[in-house]
């Protein structure tokens, strides 16, 4: 059995190791230093590595994300923390128009070895402007690699691989996961290209990532109690998507439910479903289904927020509807 650790501490261990391993690596963002990180991920790192490498920035997402791109071009290996995905909209230009396109439009001369970390997702009653899940937008863009670690092993291990990637990598950390705990696995392989089977099953594939993974696993438990065997796929890499793992699971289970927190219209969930339709249509025994956020800004009151988001009971109900009434 591996060491038990929180998701937050796993991220911090990954950061510390990266800073120790390569003098070109530095962390910058709002309140990453003196404050210790909004989610306490970088707590203690300022004391260990000093203010040049644990660099507090002003509230200037466009400025410091752009500066991160520039620093990467200048030979450094910056890790830029955007406090939450909500504020990344202020930095869409350097991420999309510059980091993602620079290699291409320079004819292959300039790679951008930049890592951007940010919290994503809802579930803490922080209302509409602090509860978005925009990782699917970034997964739309060629030139970016988009990660969504959901386990402590991925949280700890993905950063080093992201830093070794010569191209821009975005890491989305669901805010609901920071306090979760798990065992660091010695056997799970961490990479930046494959989805992982988190629970094996035979009758339905639950395809999910990030903050919805615990919900899908809970739903699979409930379904098992009802005699329904659900397989749970953790996409964990949102761009490029690992079609092979998804299709293998769908072909085996012959039914699939995609579970993701973004709004359903034009979503990453829709993309996964489209790919299944393209590649495994004739292996399906039932229409594809999905559990996404309702098409409403995330409300503040707990009961409405819960109603807006994917939940284990909604996944269970969706699977039951797919399988139809018991014979």
């Amino acid at each position: 059995m591996g060491r038990r650790i929180s998701y937050r501490d796993a991220l911090r261990e990954g950061l510390r190791e990266a800073l120790q391993a390569d003098p070109r690596v530095f962390l910058m963002g709002e309140d990453v230093g003196c404050y210790g990180g909004t989610y306490a991920v970088s707590k203690g790192l300022l004391e260990e590595f000093g203010p040049e490498r644990i660099r507090d920035t002003p509230l200037s997402e466009l400025g410091f994300v752009g500066a991160g791109v520039g620093a990467a071009l200048g030979g450094m290996r910056p890790i830029v923390e955007i406090m939450t995905v909500n504020f990344s909209l202020l930095a869409l230009d350097p991420i999309v128009n510059t980091a993602a396109m620079l290699r291409h439009m320079s004819g292959g001369q300039f790679s951008v070895p930049l890592v951007i970390r940010m919290a994503t997702g809802a579930g803490r009653q922080v209302a509409a402007q602090h509860s978005n899940s925009f990782e699917g937008w970034f997964a739309h863009v060629p030139g970016l690699r988009v990660l969504a670690p959901a386990t402590v092993t991925d949280a700890r291990g993905m950063l080093a691989l992201a830093l070794a990637d010569p191209d821009p990598v975005l890491i989305f950390e669901h805010a609901q996961l920071y306090n979760t705990e798990g065992e660091l696995s010695d056997t799970d392989s961490v990479d930046l290209c494959s989805a992982q089977v988190r629970r094996t099953g035979t009758e339905v594939s639950l395809i999910t990532y990030g903050g919805c993974l615990p919900k899908a696993l809970e739903a699979a438990d409930t379904l098992a109690g009802q005699g329904i065997s659900a397989e749970v796929i953790d996409l964990r890499v949102l761009r490029p998507l690992d079609d092979a793992t998804v299709m293998a699971s769908v072909r085996k289970c012959r039914r699939a439910v995609v579970v993701a927190e973004g709004w359903r219209s034009g979503s990453l969930a829709a993309e996964v479903m489209a790919r299944i339709s393209e590649q495994a249509f004739f292996d399906l025994d039932a229409p594809l289904a999905r559990v996404c956020s309702e098409e409403v800004p995330i409300p503040y009151p707990r009961h409405l927020e819960e109603a807006a988001l994917p939940q284990a009971h909604k996944i269970v109900a969706t699977v039951q509807a797919l399988l139809g009434p018991a014979p």
């Binding site: 466009l62 520039g70 620093a71 071009l73 450094m76 230009d93």
Partner: protein, 337 residues
């Protein structure tokens, strides 16, 4: 359209020896002739898309780039043909890039607005207004953290000063005392919008100076003044005190792009600025001082024209990239740097 005050043409002694004096003239002529040809080729549909000409503004890039060293980083806008050329990118590679050909300096993928040259620390060719300012700030941060010598020179138009990126980059660069040379090419029009119609503070040095850095205003039509001012500003940056802001007042003689009917500027204003043209006023000064003869001028101009003709032949002969390569250079292939 209120009437703009147009100062007297640049005049006064040129404090250079004949070699430097003529080299500066040749630099301006090379830009001018290359771009005149580009406009012609646009008419022939050899060059497509957006084409933003620098004609009229040549003294800015010519004086500024002469003040830099090969260790410095240079990053510019979509009106960057001249900057790329004087940074050392071969005219052949620039012309081929404008054609979209494989021997272009960005292998044809970028076009007129995205000229790049890694070997010359030329970082584009950035076509989002003000987008280069945070990048330059980051390049300078990398240099500061890694202890590399060199400053980062960032060109942008005055229109960029209305963007948030300008303010955020200025704040970061001053706060962290980064070696950035902010070069504002003030041609008085953000596309079609006059300065006074887009800025609450039209004194750009006052606006930039609010961030607590040294500022310099210089006549961007006077290549002598530009080189002197930028040299001084670059020295200040190299001494490690942080960034400097230089406002280079200039004027574009052509429309914003080839799509622009240029309806927003009075004809008299354009004509008045043309009397300040950076090439003919400088040429007259050199001749008056005995630093240039008409025969020498014609020889320099002929050399520039020949380089242009050769670059067009080169671009014509360059191959198109095969469509099979379409998906190249989206991600870095394994083993590449």
């Amino acid at each position: 359209m209120s009437k703009m005050h147009v100062p007297a043409p640049p005049h006064g002694p040129v404090p250079w020896d004949k070699t430097l004096a003529q080299a500066m003239l040749l630099d301006m002529l090379r830009i001018r002739r290359m771009e005149e040809k580009a406009a012609e080729l646009y008419g022939e549909q050899k060059i497509r898309g957006f084409l933003h000409l620098y004609i009229g503004e040549e003294a800015v890039a010519t004086g500024t780039l002469r003040a830099l060293t090969p260790d410095d980083n240079v990053i510019a806008t979509y009106r960057e043909h001249g900057h790329a050329l004087l940074r050392g990118v071969p005219m052949n590679a620039i012309m081929a890039e404008m054609f979209g050909k494989q021997d272009g300096c960005s292998r044809g993928r970028g076009g007129s607005m995205h000229l790049f040259d890694r070997s010359r620390r030329f970082f584009g060719g950035q076509a989002i207004v003000a987008g280069a300012l945070p990048l330059a700030t980051g390049l300078a941060l990398a240099d500061k953290l890694s202890g590399r010598a060199g400053l980062s020179a960032c060109f942008f138009g005055e229109g960029a000063m209305a963007e948030g990126a300008f303010h955020e980059a200025m704040n970061l660069a001053v706060l962290w005392r980064l070696p950035v040379l902010f070069c504002c090419e003030n041609n008085f029009y953000a596309m079609g919008t006059a300065l006074a119609r887009s800025e609450s503070q039209t004194d750009l040095c006052a606006k930039a100076g609010a961030y607590g850095l040294p500022t310099v205003q210089v006549d961007g039509m006077d290549v002598v003044a530009v080189l002197q001012a930028v040299k001084g500003a670059a020295d200040t940056v190299r001494q490690g005190g942080g960034p400097v802001f230089v406002e280079l007042r200039t004027y574009r003689f052509r429309a914003h792009s080839m799509f622009d009917p240029d309806l927003y500027r009075p004809r008299e204003e354009i004509d008045a600025w043309k009397t300040r043209g950076p090439i003919h006023t400088y040429t007259a000064r050199l001749k008056a001082q005995g630093l240039l003869t008409e025969a020498e001028f014609l020889a320099l101009d002929a050399a520039a024209q020949q380089e242009v003709e050769a670059s067009v032949a080169f671009a014509e002969a360059s191959p198109w990239e095969p469509v099979e390569d379409l998906l190249h250079d989206v991600y870095t292939p394994p083993g590449a740097t």
